[in-house]
Each structure stands twice: as structure tokens, then as C-alpha cells.
């Protein structure tokens, strides 16, 4: 009676996810929010293109790829900064952040050039 088991399971899943997630360090959460922001921005641009058509296609690509690119770079940053990740144990997070900044600068240069 009441809610079905799948609903209960889903609720329990979400709950456990939330509690597990709250354990992550703050800096990683910041990066996660950044990624979410970038993806949402990309989705809004796709919706816009769906409405008005793909006429200047390069601009659309530029905008979407800027968001997607920066999200990807943020993901890489998160991987490298995450202390639980044994692979990047010796890499100082400042170095990772420097790489992130550099790659973003290059990405945005290319994006601006392609924007037209």
C-alpha cells in the first residue's frame, strides 16, 4: 500500500546519493556546480537553435562547444584535484589549476575566432 517499491527504491537511492555527495570536499563541489552551469548553458543554446534554425551554424557550434569544452576541462580538473584519486597523487592541485586556466584560454581563443 502507499508508494510502490520502485518509488521507494528510487527515493532511497536518491537519499543515499545525497548523503554520499555531501561528503565530497567543497572545492570539488565548486567544480561540480561549474560543470552543471556549463551544461545548462549549452542546453539553452541548443533549445534556441531548435527554435530559430541553425543559420549562423558556426556561431551555434562555437557557443555549444565553448560550454562543452569548458565542462570537459573542469571534469579533468576535478579528476586531478580529487585527493582520493591515486593516479594523480603526486600532481599538485595548483599545477592542475594552472593547466585548467591555460587550456581554457586556448579554448576560448579558438571559440572567439570561430564565433564570427
Amino acid at each position: 500500500m502507499g508508494r510502490s517499491t520502485t518509488a521507494k527504491d528510487a527515493e532511497a537511492l536518491v537519499h543515499s546519493l545525497r548523503s554520499a555527495y555531501s561528503a565530497t570536499p567543497t572545492n570539488l563541489k565548486i567544480i561540480d556546480f561549474y560543470i552543471a552551469f556549463a551544461v545548462v548553458t549549452a542546453l539553452i543554446q541548443v533549445v534556441y537553435m531548435a527554435i530559430v534554425g541553425s543559420f549562423p551554424f558556426n556561431s551555434f557550434l562555437s557557443g555549444v562547444l565553448s560550454c562543452v569544452g569548458t565542462a570537459v576541462l573542469a571534469v579533468c580538473l576535478r579528476i586531478q584535484v580529487n585527493k582520493e584519486n591515486k593516479e594523480f597523487k603526486d600532481l599538485p592541485p595548483e599545477r592542475a589549476f594552472a593547466d585548467f586556466v591555460l587550456c581554457n584560454l586556448v579554448l576560448h581563443l579558438v571559440i572567439i575566432n570561430f564565433l564570427g
Binding site: 563541489k29 545548462v40 592541485p93 575566432n113
Partner: protein
Amino acid sequence: MEAFMERNLGLFFIVALCALAWATESIFHPVSEQHRSAALEFFSSADGHFGSLEETYEALRTFQVLGIEKDAKIQTSACASVIETLKSPTPGTKQIFHALITNSLLTCDIGHEAFQGIQSGLTDSLNDATALLDFYYAIGSLVLLKGQTPEVSLNEGDANRIVQSIKTLSQSDGRWRLNSNNPESRFDAAGMAIEAIAGVISLSTSEINQNVIDALKNDIVKLFDGIQRYDDGAYYFEEKLVDAHGYQGPLSVSAAVVRGIAAFAAVTPESLHLSDEKIVGLAKYFLGIGVPGSAKDLYNQIDALACINNLKGSIPLLLSFPATVISSTKNNQVKVKATNVLGSVIPNLSVKLMQIFTKGSKDGSVIDQKLKYDHENEVHVLETLPESIDIGSYIFSFEAVFYDPEQKKNYATGGRTKVPIYITGVVSIDNAEIAILDSDSGSSESIKFDINRENTVSLSANHLQKMKLSFHLSTPSQNSFKPKQAFLKLTHESGVEHIFLVGSSVKKFEIVLDFLGLVEKLFYLSGKYSIHLTLGDSAMENSFLRTLGYIELDLPDAPEKAPRPPPQRVDVYSRYGPKPEIAHIFRAPEKTAPTWLSNTFLALVIIPFIGFIVLLFGLGANFKGFPKTTASAAFALLFHIGIAAALLLYVAFWIKLDLFTTLKALGLIGAFLLVVGHKTLAYLAAASSSSKLKSS
């Protein structure tokens, strides 16, 4: 020197060839209104002032001979220059000469003392003179001075000495050298020398030795042996070997000689025994120039003609012809004007037509007809042409006969005057017949048509037939006429043309077109051909090109190897003219989204960013890790400023800049960021590792 000789010889041969090509009959017109208007044009000056005294004199002399009234302004300014020159402290002999000769044409108010002052200077320079020009100007000035102060004269000893000095410069061929250093002898120097000696003769108090005069006459005869001749009877003098520096054209050289001869003739009582032919020939040369192109040439021409006109015993008589094309339909008459070279009519003579030659034949019919004198227009008129003269080109030979034999002695006629006369008239064409003949049967009926109307003929033929056209031409005097041009042209409707000559026999003109033989020439083109006839001649007043009509030709088909007709001339305007305007169709611009929609989405895109910031605050992100020490804080600040600068650079790149400028700027900012970022991050790394050490 050799090159010059060859070049001048070459020029001489070319001139001689040109002269040979000229007809022996030419018409010379005397001085006319055209010369007067040219004089007014060349010698015009706003304030009456010409360049120099010499030019002033040339202008005044030309006006005097042509009978043009002197402008008061010219007179006053010329007198002013004359007085100024004569009063100047060191005038050159040449300047004095020009001043005095200008004064002789005007009546300037110059005091007796001025003349006295000059006289002594002139006598001195005459005694010191060695070059021909010095003698010329000094003697000339003294002669002119004599006109003002009659006591100017030369004694016998001085006169003889001066004449001898001048004569030392003479050459054996009758020409003179300019001075003893200069080896070349010239005709114009001869003219000046003769004029100078004539001046000495007129200044001398006692009789000059007759030998001197005879010697000079011989010199003049020798000089005239060097005269050159054009085929039309004009005689002139030209320097043969002269360096380019002192080259004078034949006009000024001949004028200088004429001035000398005239001056000498004026001081000797007996005549110079120069042949009439040469005197008249010289006059013809000057007149044959027409109206010269420059002021100096006009002065030389007019002055020389005036000098020739004053040669007593040899004044040239000119028969000139206002019109040489006589139209028999308009009943024109041959008119002759008997004038002297300056254009004044010579009275008391009659003109006779002696002979008429047909062009090309040597002997002509003797006429000996006297022309009637029209007092009103002062012309001699040939009232009726002789019976035998039909239309065509002829050469009429005229002679002037004086009523008074005494008067005849004053003039030189140069023999009979031959002039080409063209008599034109209307040629009538009649008995025009055209027929299509079958090749086997000789005759077929021929159609008589009116050749004077267009498009009266319409025929058809095939390639086995012939077309025959015949007509008869006759002059106003009912003689048969043979024109220079008689062509028949067949034009196909496509534009291809064929031209045939119309042959003539004694009585009529006839052409037979045998189409069998012409099939290939006509390029096997069948169809409608229009027939055009051209008849023309210089004596025909009604030369024509007329379309007679059409002929339909039926020709066999062209075989494989037959020549194609030539491509027709394209209408120039269709090929090279402007082409039709091209209307460009541009790509329709793409549809873009409406502005409000774009702006809405702009706002929508900003929202996630705002959401991100809000979430960050909600998360408790802070700036606690910001470096505390001043140096590191400065570096950290600079690091953020650098990143902001790079992002702003990207914005500027999008708005305005190009890639290369951006890359350059980015390089600078990047280098800066590297340094600053390294410092900041190194500090942060050091800080975090020390805190880790502390905590662990």
C-alpha cells in the same frame, strides 16, 4: 661635313623628285586679302610694341607694302624706340641701322643734332669694318641717313676702298663669304654684299669706276647661274653646304638676294640683263608659298615681292585664274585677271587664248581668241568656248598683249601661261537595255528601261543563261563619252557583293554576265541579287551609284569543296557596342530570428551563471585562501587581472581586432600570466604543503 653633304644631296634629290612629280602647269595667285589678314594676325600687339626694332621694322614694312593702315599706337611706340636707340651712348651699328630704317617708314620727330651725332660714329665704324655684316649695316645706315641729312656722302677714295674690301670677300661662283675667317660662301651674303655696294655707289660723290659696276654685273650673272628651279617654273636660291648653326631657309636667302638685286638696279641706269624667265620665276617662287606660317617668312615674302615689283624693265606680269573648274550647265566662263605680283591690276592690255591642249597630248589646237575685258570686275572673260571643246580636262595657254609697245618693255611676262582647266557637264544616259539571254539561242527580247529611275528592273535567270546590260553615254555636245568609272555590282540578299567592269566600244557600253562561268565566283548562292550601276568621272556633274533593280538567280547547289562566301562585315555597334545590362540576382539573405527572441535567450543564458554564483555562496565558498602577505597578494591580484585582461582581449577580438593582433597581445599577456601565475601558485602550493606538514 661628309654626312652633311650626303644629307643635303639626299634632300636635294628628294626635292628634285618632288619637283619632277609636279605638273608643269601651275597657277600662281598674287598677294590677296589672305596675306593682309595674316599680316594683321602675325603682327598684332596689344600695346603697339613689338619685340625688337627689327621686328617693328618688319611689321611696318609689311603693312606698308600691303597697304594696311598703321595703328597710331604702333607708330608712337616705334618712334619712342627709335629715338631711344639713336640717343643711346653706345649704340651698335646694327641697332642704328634698324632704328634708321624704321624711321624711314614713319615720320618720327628726330632732331638734326641726333643725326649728326650718329654720322661720325658710323663713318668711324665703316673705316674699321672688316666683316661683311659690319659693312652692310654701316653703309645701310649712312644711306638712310642721307635721306635725312643730304650732306652725307663718301669721297671717291673711300668709296673705292670700301668696294674693294667688300669684293675681297667674294667667291668665284658669285657668292660671298661673311668674313675672311669663314670659308663658306653664301647666297644671302651675296645679296647683302650687292646691296652694300649699291649703297656705296649711291653715297659716292663722284662717278664710280665703270669697271666696278661691270664686275658686279658679272658677279650677279654668276650668282644667278646658281639659281635652282622647280618644274612649275619657280626659281629660288638655296644654300647648299651650310652648317646647321647658320642655316637660313630658301625663302630668306632668296629674299636677301632679291633685295640686293633691287638695290643695285635702283642705282644703275641700265638694266641688269637678267632673263625674264628667272625674274618671273623668282616672283612665282615667292607667290607659290601662299600665305607663310610665321611673321618673319611673311615679311621676307612681301618685301621680296615688293622689291621685284620695282625692278624697272622686269616687272612681272601675272595672269591668275579665279576659277579653273568650268561648269557647262551653269554657263560658267573662264576668267583671267592680269595683275602684278602685289595684286594690282595692270591696265591697257588684252589677254588672248592662244592654244588649247587636251590633257596628255602634246600638240593642241590653235585658237588665238581675244578675251573680252569686263571693266567693272577688272577681269578678262572668255565669253564662249570654242566649238570643239566638250567636257573633260584641258590645258589652256594664254598670252598677255599690251596695246602700247613702250609699256611692254617695262614688264616681264615669262612667256605664255598654261593653266589646267576642267570643263564639267551633265552626261546623259540613254538607250538602256537589259536582257536575259539563253546560252544557245543568241538573242532574246531585251527590255528597255529608264536608267535614270531606281528599281525599274526585275528579272530572273538560272545558271544556264546570261544577262546583258547596255547603254549609251553622251556629252552635252552629243559626243560619246567614256567615264573613268563604270562598274556593275551584284549584291546578294546575305550581303555578299560582286563587282564587274562595264566595257565600252565606240558607240555604247555593254556588259554580259555569263552565269555559267560565274557560278563559282558567286559562291553558288541562289536568291535575290540587287543590281547597282556606278558611273563616275571628274568631268561628269551627275556621277551616280544607282540601284537598277533585282535579279532572281537560280544556281545549282554548292559541291563539297566549293569555296565559302567570305564572312560579312559585322556591324561594329553590334559587336563592339554596349552589351545588354545584366540584372544580378543576389542570394536572398537568410532569415534570422526576431530580435525579441534573441534578447530573451540572451537573458536565459545569463541565468545559469547567476545560478552558479548563488550556489557558490550557498556552498560557503570564500576567499580565505587568498594570500596574506603583500607581495604574494599583489601577485595573486595581478594573476586575476591578467586573466581578466585575456578575456577582455577576446571580447575586443570578437568586436574589432584581427587574429594576428590578438595573438601578439595574447603572447604578451600570456607571458605576463606565466610569470605571475607561477609565482602565485607556487606560493599557494608552498602554503598548502606547509599546512599539510603541520597537520600531518
